[in-house]
């Protein structure tokens, strides 16, 4: 088999740029540090693409099936006699696909940021964090074992924390970064406990062994039964909790909209294209285990994904901050991918959902990064995040306008753009699995088209607003990435995913099922048409509708009050009802007891210290009385 040993440089290069920029960045000129980071990423991109070409064009194939190749592996830490944490590079269709996704988007974001972040204080810090993120994300996808994945999982979490809080003198950014880290950390606790259970059931961390159809995870009977489900199922559910946290699935989604406090290119990279799909990737990575050993868990995954996609789509229709609309749209689209894995089977055409999910992940990375970068270009031009303060920008920002429109059409799923293909496959997979879930996803498709075009029309159509200065198109460093990503979004639908990325590595035939795709196209067009009527020209229709459905509108606008619920739990329960009583108990009861003992000792000694008065008369008196008492005692009582 071909040698892929060089792929380890995909990890080393960004790590080195992180260290260099982190330690010496302050001493470099801002421009130099930006270019250093970008150059590092260029190397990573070249290596990733080379790997992808070699892998998919033959080097990964054996007997017509794409193999799992361990390109590099070395033991990092020995835990128990059986379990050891390795660090390595595992190449298989999904990890190679992720290499392409991450390097493409990250490279685009690096270039884009040269323009977008120009003149910002902490430019070198920004690029050093971007390198850290790229390193961590690459390490996550090429992990050879679940524990390596967990390690890099935590590292992407911290990169995300650092980048959300990039503008750290802004209190809202600080709060958002803290929230993001703690919510995902909570989910990661589930992940860790899941790994503990899984690894002690199967005696391995290794992905190849875990997903082996004759391996210990799949052939095991599932272990003891606990609360009606096998231990194996519990562990897989807990692992999914970790994935749900990172991928912002309901009810762990609350950190993602707030995370938009970070710089916009960061939102594009981390909170749209790469890190937030880690949960999808995790389920895809463990898919055989889910399918064969924990089907109940897979069922839960399908429902969580479907519900999240609907829930977030409804909220997205009411938000006015353009980045928040995109954030809810991201939750909704990731819901699609998670759902698609949940309804998938294994092997051949059965694994349609698996293939569609990964395909959608790929397409989504392109068009959602494009949308965010486009939004960044808009924000850069008008210095506002609110669509109520925008309008008529198509004249001022022609390139942004066209690329944004392409992205909107793609996410709405219009033929022949890439979103159409992957969404159609997802719906087809759902159709064969569960009709209720299928109906929900149809509805979501319509909502998606509606809110995306509500966004598009509000920004680019309508009449001009009062701008501080005339908005102008962004510099080439920003528009070129937009154009490249737009090309990607248009054509990535032509990639033969059914031959490349499948559940068992073997290619299968799939074709567009027009009985599903036709109605979905109609629904999408309806959504666009409604948006056209409501938002193309300014009119009172949206307000009238909002007041007609006052209550439901208010609930959706306030994100169904989930944030308030969280505040209640953290502030009221954790802080007031647990931590403060613990602190009180410690000071007053535990410490009070210690002080009490000291007090008793002191008081007793104060009382009896009078006995040592030093007065001879007193001593004589005590001596004589004592002697008499003793004599009487011996005479009368003892005889």
């Amino acid at each position: 088999m071909a040698d892929f040993g060089y792929t380890v440089w995909i990890l080393i290069v960004p790590f080195v740029t992180f260290i260099v920029l982190g330690l010496f960045g302050m001493k470099l000129k801002a421009r130099i540090s930006g270019l250093t980071g970008t150059l590092g990423l260029a190397i990573v991109t070249v290596l990733s693409y080379a790997t992808a070409f070699r892998y998919f064009l033959g080097a990964g194939l054996a007997d017509g099936i794409y193999q799992k190749i361990i390109a590099f592996n070395s033991t990092w830490l020995t835990l128990t006699d059986r379990l050891h944490i390795d660090m390595g590079v595992l190449l298989d269709p999904i990890s190679v696909m992720m290499l392409v996704v991450i390097s493409t988007v990250s490279f685009m974001v690096h270039i884009y940021s040269l323009g977008y972040m120009k003149g910002e204080k902490g430019f070198e810090r920004y690029y050093s964090f971007l390198s850290l993120f790229t390193f961590s994300m690459m390490g996550l996808v090429v992990a050879t074992n679940i524990f390596q994945m967990y390690i890099f999982w935590e590292l992407v979490g911290i990169s995300s924390y650092l980048l959300i809080g990039f503008y750290y003198s802004r209190p809202s950014a600080v709060a958002a970064s803290k929230k993001a880290f703690i919510v995902t950390r909570f989910a990661d606790m589930g992940f860790l406990i899941g790994i503990l259970i899984l690894s002690f059931t199967t005696k391995t961390f290794d992905f190849v062994t875990l997903t082996d159809l004759n391996g210990p995870a799949i052939t095991s009977t599932g272990g003891a039964v606990f609360l009606g489900m096998s231990v194996m199922t519990w562990s897989m559910i807990l692992i999914f909790v970790g994935g749900a946290g990172k991928s912002a699935m309901f009810p762990l989604h609350i950190w993602l909209p707030d995370a938009m406090e970070g710089p916009t290119p960061v939102s594009a990279l981390i909170h749209a294209a790469t890190m937030v799909v880690a949960g999808v990737y995790l389920v895809a990575r463990m898919f055989p285990v889910y399918y064969f050993a924990a089907p109940e868990a897979l069922q839960i995954i399908a429902w969580v994904g479907a519900f999240s996609s609907l829930f977030a789509a409804v909220i997205a229709t009411t938000q006015t901050d353009i980045k928040r609309v995109l954030a809810y749209s991201t939750i909704s689209q990731i819901g699609y991918m998670i759902f698609s894995l949940g309804v998938s089977g294994y092997g051949g055409p059965e694994g349609l959902g698996f293939m569609a999910s990964n395909w959608h992940l790929f397409n989504h990375a392109m068009f959602k990064a494009l949308l965010f970068l486009g939004a960044g270009s808009v924000i850069h031009a008008v210095h506002s995040n609110y669509m109520t303060e925008m309008g008529g920008l198509r004249k001022h920002l022609p390139i942004t306008n066209i690329t944004f429109l392409i992205a909107c059409l793609t996410i709405a799923g219009l033929f022949p753009l890439s979103g159409f293909f992957s969404k159609d496959e997802i719906l087809t997979a759902a159709f064969h699995h569960d009709k209720v879930l299928f109906a929900i996803e149809y509805l979501v498709a319509g909502l998606t088209a509606f809110y995306m075009f509500r966004l598009y029309f509000s920004i680019f159509h309508g009449h001009d607003r009062q701008y501080d200065h005339t908005p102008h198109e962004s510099p080439a460093t920003m528009t070129v990435p937009l154009i490249i990503l737009a090309i990607g979004s248009v054509f990535s639908g032509l990639l033969p995913f059914n031959r490349l990325v499948t559940s068992d590595g073997a290619p299968f035939e799939s074709h567009i099922e027009w009985s599903v795709a036709g109605p979905s196209l109609i629904i999408a067009l309806t959504g666009i048409a409604i948006a056209w009527v409501m938002y193309r020209k300014e009119n009172t229709l949206p307000d009238r509708l909002a007041s007609t459905f006052k209550h439901s509108y208010k609930w959706a606008y306030n994100k169904f009050y989930i944030d308030e619920l969280y505040l209640f739990i953290t502030k009221k329960i954790i802080f007031r009802r647990i931590s403060q009583p613990v602190a009180w108990f410690d000071r007053h009861i535990v410490d009070g007891t210690m002080n009490g003992i000291a007090w008793v000792t002191q008081t007793v000694s104060n009382r009896i210290k009078g006995l040592q008065s030093g007065q001879l008369q007193q001593y004589g008196f005590v001596f004589v009385t004592g002697a008499v008492a003793l004599v009487l005692f011996f005479i009368y009582l003892i005889k």
Partner: protein, 496 residues
């Protein structure tokens, strides 16, 4: 002369040197040189230990030597090291050197301060190399006494109260410990023969189980007081918050480790049967420690209190892991001791440096410090991340060993305890990020802050020494973990 004895002699020589020089400014230079030599000696010992192991020496203790001290009671000055003591020696020498530099410009600088500090160091080093229970106890007491002077004189806040409380509680522990040690001594020859204090000798016989049932809890609790065992931890918040910077560093960084070290080197190694019987009681107590300390830290307002409660939680994890009595968990316990020693020393050093600038330790009275003192700010963030167990920093390695080791027990009791202990990683994240958000981030709170100087050279030296350790263990854990895994085996085998 044996090289291990140098570790005791160098601080004593440093004290002589301090007595000879004129003033405190020269005294600090003498201390720095002394501790620099100590640091080098410590690393020579590490090197000698490793090369001897590589040469195939599989004895439990290496570099041993023994001098008769008190013939009639069979008390010897016996020293020797295994991987665990080597790790603790390296930790101590780093923390002590960092402590000297952290007190470089302290207010009320006195020669006597450095003398007490060196005396403390003598005690700690002596404790870690001793293999004779009696000399070990002697060094232990030697380490505790200077603490009273250091806090009582150079402390802040209600320092007399804090010093008294800390000393009395630790002395209370010592009283229990002394009974425990004598109990071991008088049962060290159950078949007749000569009584001994030598740990290695005692480990070869079995102390009668009735005696173990008495003396195991006494010894364990006696050491446990110093290791912040719930509910005997309350000296820690008051003591730490009143102590001067270097003393907090040494106390939380090294002295609390004496407790954990003693627990497994003496209590569990010598009385394994009772340890197995009674572990469940202490597992419950330490599980409470872990979660309770973390919750306690969430609402504190004073930086030092936060760190003191955090230490209760982290040191609780050390004792928790020791009680799991398998190789992985106990390796984790030792790594956690080293890791917590480094990062809590770093925390206290940074708190001292921040206090030296803002003259307050109440977090709500500060804000936006990252902008004005970035070096200290970044160091604080890294210490915080190590504390919440970020991969790549030392805390993670320790915690993973502990959790996997304790989960290795297949029964529900241990597994539930593990899961409860795991929740601490989230709670830790909450209080660490809360402090970072309030203290370092946000807008600059006070315009006077712009006059602050970032870290001075001696502060940088102190910080970097500790940071290097944290990052090294986090990135390349196999070195430390390998040494400890091998050395923990004899203890684990006795416990099986």
């Amino acid at each position: 002369m044996n090289i291990l004895s140098c570790l005791v002699i160098i601080p004593l020589l440093t004290i002589t040197g301090i007595l000879l020089v004129k003033d405190a400014r020269q005294a600090r230079v003498v201390s720095a040189i002394g501790m620099g030599i100590q640091l080098i000696t410590a690393f020579i010992i590490v090197f000698m230990y490793l090369s001897e192991r590589k040469a195939g020496n599989t004895d439990q203790m290496l570099l041993m030597s023994s001098y008769e001290w008190f013939r009639s009671l069979n008390i010897y000055y016996t020293v020797g090291v295994d991987g665990i003591s080597v790790a603790m020696i390296a930790l101590t020498s780093i923390v002590v050197s960092a402590g000297v530099f952290a007190s470089w410009e302290m207010e009320d600088l006195k020669k006597e301060f450095f003398i007490s500090l060196m005396l403390l160091a003598t005690g700690v080093f002596g404790f870690f190399i001793s293999l004779d229970l009696f000399t070990m106890f002697l060094f232990y007491e030697l380490a505790v006494i200077p603490m009273y002077i250091l806090i009582g004189i150079w402390g802040s806040g209600p320092k007399e109260y804090a010093a008294m409380k800390l000393t009395l509680m630790l002395m209370g522990g010592s009283a229990l410990l002394m009974i425990g040690l004598f109990g071991i001594y008088f049962n060290s020859a159950p078949d007749g023969g000569e009584l001994t204090f030598n740990i290695i000798e005692i480990s070869k016989i079995t102390i009668p189980i009735q005696a173990q049932r008495w003396f195991f809890p006494l010894t364990f609790v006696g050491f446990g007081v110093l290791g912040a065992l719930f509910p005997l931890h309350t000296w820690s918040p008051d003591g730490h918050s009143s102590a001067p910077t270097a003393v907090s560093m040494l106390h939380a960084g090294v002295l609390m480790k004496l407790g954990g070290y003693g627990c497994f080197r003496v209590a569990m190694f010598l009385m394994p049967e009772a340890a197995n019987e009674m572990a469940w009681i202490f597992i419950i107590l330490t599980t409470i420690s872990v979660v309770y300390g973390a919750f306690g830290a969430i609402v504190q307002k004073d930086l030092k209190y936060i760190n003191a409660y955090s230490s209760v939680s982290h040191c609780g994890l050390v004792l928790f892991a020791i009680l799991m009595m398998n190789r992985t968990a106990m390796t984790g316990a030792v790594i956690q001791m080293v890791s917590h020693g480094l990062m809590t020393a770093l925390f206290f050093a940074l708190i001292g440096m921040i206090y030296g600038r803002t003259h307050t330790r109440i977090i709500s009275e500060m804000g936006g410090l990252m902008k004005v003192i970035p070096f200290l700010g970044v160091a604080y963030v890294i210490a915080g991340l190590a504390s919440l167990g970020l991969p790549g920093l030392s805390g993670f390695v320790a915690e993973m060993n502990i959790f996997f080791g304790s989960f290795e027990h297949p029964d529900t009791f241990h597994r539930v305890a593990t899961i409860i202990a795991i929740t601490s990683i989230v709670i830790t994240a909450v209080y660490i990020l809360r402090v970072i958000a309030i203290l370092l981030l946000g807008p600059v709170r006070d315009p006077h802050y712009s006059e602050f100087n970032d870290a001075r050279w001696y502060e940088k030296l102190s910080i970097l020494a500790l940071l290097t350790g944290i990052v090294y263990i986090g990135m390349i854990p196999s070195g430390l973990s390998g040494i400890i895994r091998d050395s923990i085996m004899p203890i684990v085998e006795k416990l099986m």
